[in-house]
Symmetry: C2
C-alpha cells in the first residue's frame, strides 16, 4: 500500500491509477452483483457508473446498498431501468416507491449507524463492488466528496472498488472530513472522540490498492435537496420547541455547559435549525451533533453562534452547497463530516448528552412513532438515522405538524400500524398546537397529554372520545383495533 497523501491534497489524481470510463466499468460488473455505493443526504453519490448500468443491455438483477439518500441517477434512472432486484437501506423517489410497493424490488430498511457493520460483518449481504464518489484519488486512498455515510465500511467489505473522480466537487471538501475507522469486533476499542467538534481521523479513506478496479472521471453536480420556505406551522413548532429547550436548560445542570442538538432531515428539520437563531442559550455552547448539515445551520455558523457541527453529509440546497463550497476551509473550522458509524454512533450520542429532534409520518396517542410507512403499508423513504438518535439521545423530541394535506388528515392517530420508534423511546412531542412532555408517564397518561396538547382541534374531540371509550377496557394500553383502523379508511 502506498503512503497516505500529504495535506492539503492539491491534485486530483495521484500515482499510477487504472483510468477507465463508466461504460467499461459497468460492463465489468456482474449482472447479479451486490453494489455498495456512496451517497447520503442526496449528495456524494456516484453518478456515471449507475447511469451506465441503467443503459446496460444485459438483464441486470443487482443488489444495491447505500447508507442514505442518493440522487436521481440511481434512485430514478437505475431503478426505472429494472436493473435492481434488492435494495437497502434508503430510497426516496416515486419510481423507487412504486417498485417497492409492487415488490419488484425487495427493499430492506436498516438503521443508518449499523449498516456498515451489517454489511461488513453482519451477513446482511455478500458484497462485490463498492462504487464511490471522490474529489481526489491515489494508490490506496481517496478523498470523499459531499458525504461520507458508510463508505469506509463499504470499501473494506467489497472485493473491488470503482472511484468516480468528480471534478465538479471542490478539492476543498477535504478540509471537512474526519475519517475514523473503528476496529473489527470483538476487539473494537472505544471511539476516542472527546467532543462533537474534535478530529480523530484522516481526510481520506484508505483502501487496499489491489481492489481498485478503475477510476472514472466525471463532472456533474449532486441532485441536491430543495426545501420549502418555513410555513406558519413550522414556525409555531419552532417556537414551541424553543420554549421546551429553555425549560430544559433551566431544569438540569447537565445543560449548563452546552446544549447539543440533532435535527432530522427535511423542510421542517431545516426550518427548526434556522429558527434556533431565536434561542438564547446564554453562556452555553450551542452544538450540533447530527447526521446532516442542512442550510438552516449555515447562518448560525456564519454568525459564530454554533460552536461545532458534526454530521455525515452536507445535505444542502444548490445555494447552500455554493455557499459552503466557496468558503469550505472557513466552515471546516466548525463543521466536521464523519462516517455514519461515528456521526450516528449510539455511544457518542449518549456521551454528548444530545437532545434529538426528529419528525415522523404520524404518532399514535400512546407515543409510538411511525416514520416510514403511510397507513402502516406504503413505504416512503426509510428509517435512516432517526432511530439512532431517538433511542440514544438524553432527551428525545418528536416534532411534527398535527395535520397534513391542508388539515384534512391528523398525524396523531389512535394506533400506528407501523412502528419505527417504540413507546419506550420518545420523551416529548411537539406540534404547532403545543408540547406534550410524556417523560415518566404511563401510556394512558401519555395519550391524555398528546391529545390535549398536540392534536389539532379538528381531531382532538374524536381522539378524546376514542381514548375515553377504550379506557373502559381494563388494560395497560387499551385498544379498539377495528375502530383505530377506520382512521385510515
Amino acid at each position: 500500500m502506498t503512503e497516505a497523501p500529504e495535506y492539503p491534497v492539491e491534485e486530483r489524481l495521484h500515482g499510477d491509477l487504472p483510468l477507465t470510463d463508466a461504460d467499461a466499468a459497468a460492463a465489468s460488473i456482474d449482472a447479479d452483483a451486490t453494489l455498495l455505493t456512496s451517497g447520503f443526504g442526496s449528495v456524494g453519490y456516484p453518478k456515471a457508473i449507475p447511469l451506465a448500468l441503467a443503459e446496460d443491455n444485459r438483464d441486470l438483477s443487482l443488489t444495491l446498498v447505500s447508507s442514505g439518500k442518493v440522487g436521481e441517477e440511481i434512485d430514478v434512472d437505475l431503478m426505472a431501468a429494472d436493473a435492481v432486484d434488492r435494495r437497502m437501506s434508503y430510497q426516496s423517489s416515486e419510481v423507487a416507491r412504486e417498485l417497492t410497493a409492487r415488490r419488484e424490488v425487495a427493499f430492506s430498511d436498516r438503521n443508518a449507524s449499523s449498516l456498515g457493520d451489517d454489511v461488513q460483518y453482519g451477513g446482511v449481504v455478500d458484497p462485490d463492488v463498492a462504487v464511490v464518489e471522490a474529489v481526489a484519488v491515489g494508490e490506496g486512498w481517496f478523498v470523499p466528496s459531499t458525504s461520507l455515510g458508510q463508505v469506509p465500511a463499504f470499501v473494506d467489505a467489497a472485493d473491488r472498488l470503482y472511484v468516480e473522480l468528480n471534478r465538479h466537487q471542490p478539492l476543498a471538501l477535504q478540509s471537512l472530513h474526519d475519517v475514523y475507522r473503528p476496529e473489527a469486533p470483538p476487539n473494537r476499542g472505544p471511539i476516542p472522540l472527546a467532543g462533537p467538534g474534535d478530529r480523530i481521523g484522516d481526510r481520506h479513506v484508505s483502501f487496499d490498492p489491489e481492489k481498485l478496479a478503475g477510476v472514472v472521471e466525471t463532472d456533474s453536480a449532486d441532485a441536491t435537496y430543495t426545501f420549502r420556505d418555513p410555513t406558519d406551522d413550522d414556525l409555531a413548532i419552532a417556537a414551541n420547541l424553543r420554549n421546551f429547550l429553555r425549560g430544559e436548560m433551566a431544569r438540569s445542570s447537565v445543560f449548563d455547559e452546552a446544549l447539543t442538538l440533532q435535527f432530522g432531515v427535511g423542510s421542517l428539520g431545516n426550518a427548526l435549525m434556522g429558527e434556533l437563531a431565536d434561542l438564547d442559550v446564554g453562556d452555553r455552547d450551542l452544538i450540533y451533533f447530527g447526521e446532516l448539515v442542512q442550510d438552516g445551520l449555515l447562518d448560525l455558523l456564519d454568525d459564530g453562534r454554533l460552536t461545532a457541527a458534526s454530521a455525515t453529509s452536507l445535505a444542502l440546497t444548490d445555494e447552500g452547497q455554493q455557499r459552503l463550497f466557496e468558503h469550505a476551509e472557513r466552515y471546516a473550522e466548525d463543521v466536521v463530516l464523519r462516517p455514519a458509524d461515528v456521526s450516528n454512533h449510539p455511544g457518542l450520542i449518549d456521551r454528548f448528552g444530545v437532545v434529538a429532534v426528529n419528525s415522523a409520518v404520524e404518532v399514535d396517542i400512546y407515543g409510538n412513532v411511525n416514520s416510514t410507512h403511510v397507513a402502516g403499508e406504503r413505504m416512503l423513504n426509510g428509517v435512516g438515522g432517526s432511530a439512532d438518535f431517538n433511542r440514544n439521545a438524553l432527551v428525545t423530541v418528536c416534532a411534527l405538524p398535527s395535520t397534513l394535506n391542508g388539515g384534512e388528515i391528523s398525524r396523531i392517530v389512535p394506533m400506528s400500524f407501523h412502528v419505527d420508534h417504540t413507546e419506550h423511546d420518545v420523551d416529548v412531542f411537539v406540534t404547532e398546537q403545543g408540547v406534550a412532555d410524556v417523560r415518566g408517564r404511563s401510556p394512558v397518561e401519555r395519550a391524555e397529554l398528546i391529545v390535549e396538547n398536540c392534536a389539532h382541534p379538528s381531531f382532538a374531540p374524536e381522539l378524546r372520545a376514542y381514548l375515553d371509550d377504550v379506557c373502559e377496557r381494563e388494560h395497560h394500553i387499551p385498544h379498539d383495533v377495528e375502530r383505530a383502523a377506520e382512521w385510515f379508511e
Copy 2:
C-alpha cells in the same frame, strides 16, 4: 468523604453510621416521595423498608423506580398495600399487573441501559430517596449484594440514602462487583473496558456521606427465580440455535477469536444457556456479555468452558445462589457484575460483537417483536434490557416456542399490536420448528421465511393464507388489520 474501603472488606459496618430500623426509616419517607430502589433479576432489592412502608398507616402515594425485577416484598406486599401511584420500569407479580391494568398504578416502561441517565439527568422523575441493599457499608461507600442494576446512578441522583445491610448475603459477593461510573454528559468519556471480562472500577458504590439517612440491618433471602426444567420445545430451539451459531462461526472471521453471546431472562433463556454445553466452538473463546447470570451458565463456568461472564445481576435459583455463594471468589475469576449502564451499554454491545438471543411474547410475520403486552394491551413485565441487546448486537436472534398454552395459541401472528423491537432490529428467528434468517430480506420475504420455517404446522396454513391474501395489496408491508385483529379474539 471518608476513604474507600480496603479490599477485601471483612466487616459489615465501618465507622460512625446512623443505624436505625425499618419502621423509623419508612416513617421518615414522605408519603408522596419518589423512591429509587436496588434490585435486578429478582435479587439484591431492599426488603425491610418496603415491608415497613407496606404496613405504614399513612395514605401513601409513592413513585417507585427500580431498574429491574424486584421481589415480593416490593412487587406483592408494597404494591398490594395501595402505597404506589407511579412505577417504572419493570414489574412481575400478578398484583402489580392487575394494578397496572386497572391503571391504579401509572406504569412507565423504559430500556434498562438508559434508566440511570433518565433518572439522573433526563427528567423522567424527581428523585427523593434511594433505598439499596448492601453486604457492607461505611461512611461514603457500600458493597452491593446480588445485583447492581442502576444503583450507582440512583444513589447519585437521590437526595437521601437508606442502606439495608443484609447479613444473609455473603461478604464474598464483593469479589464479583466492578462498579464503574460514567461521567456526566456532555463530557462523558468512553467506557475504558477492553473486554467483557475486564475490571475497570471498584467493588463498592461511593456516595456523599451527607446523604446517608440510615442503615437498617436485615437478614433475609432474595425471592429468587425458579426455572422449569427444559421442555422438548426448549431443547429443539436450543438445537436449532446451535446449528445457526455453527453457521455463523463458519460464515465470518469476525467470530474467529471469540463467540460472545447474550441470553434473555427466563426458563427458555436459562435452558439455552445450559444447552450451550453441546456447542463446539473450537479454539474460540466462549464469552457471555449479557444482563443476567442464570443457573444455566454455572456448569459452563465450572467446566472452564466460558472465558468470561459479564452481567448486572445474579438471577439464580436458590440452589444456584447457594452454589455461587459457596465459591464466590472462584466464580469471580470469570464472572463480573457491572452497573446496568455498563452491562447493557449500546457502545459495548457493539464493540464486543455480541450475538444476542432474546425471547418474546409473540412476533409478527414481518419481524416486529412484542415482548411486553399480551394482545397488545395487557402488560406482562417490562421491556428490560432486551431492546439494548436487540438493537446493538452484531447479530440479533429472537428465540421462542412457536405456540403457547399447549399449542392452542400461535406466537407467530399476522400483526403485533404492540411493538417493542421493530422490523429494523431482528436478524434471525428461531423456534422449535426451525430458523428464519431474514437478514437483508424485505418484509414480505421475511414473512415467507418466518411462516415457512418457524410457524407451527397447526397455524402455518392460516398464516400463509393471510399472507397470500394481503399480498394482493400493492404495498411494501401489506396488512388486513381487521383480519389480523381476529387472531386475538
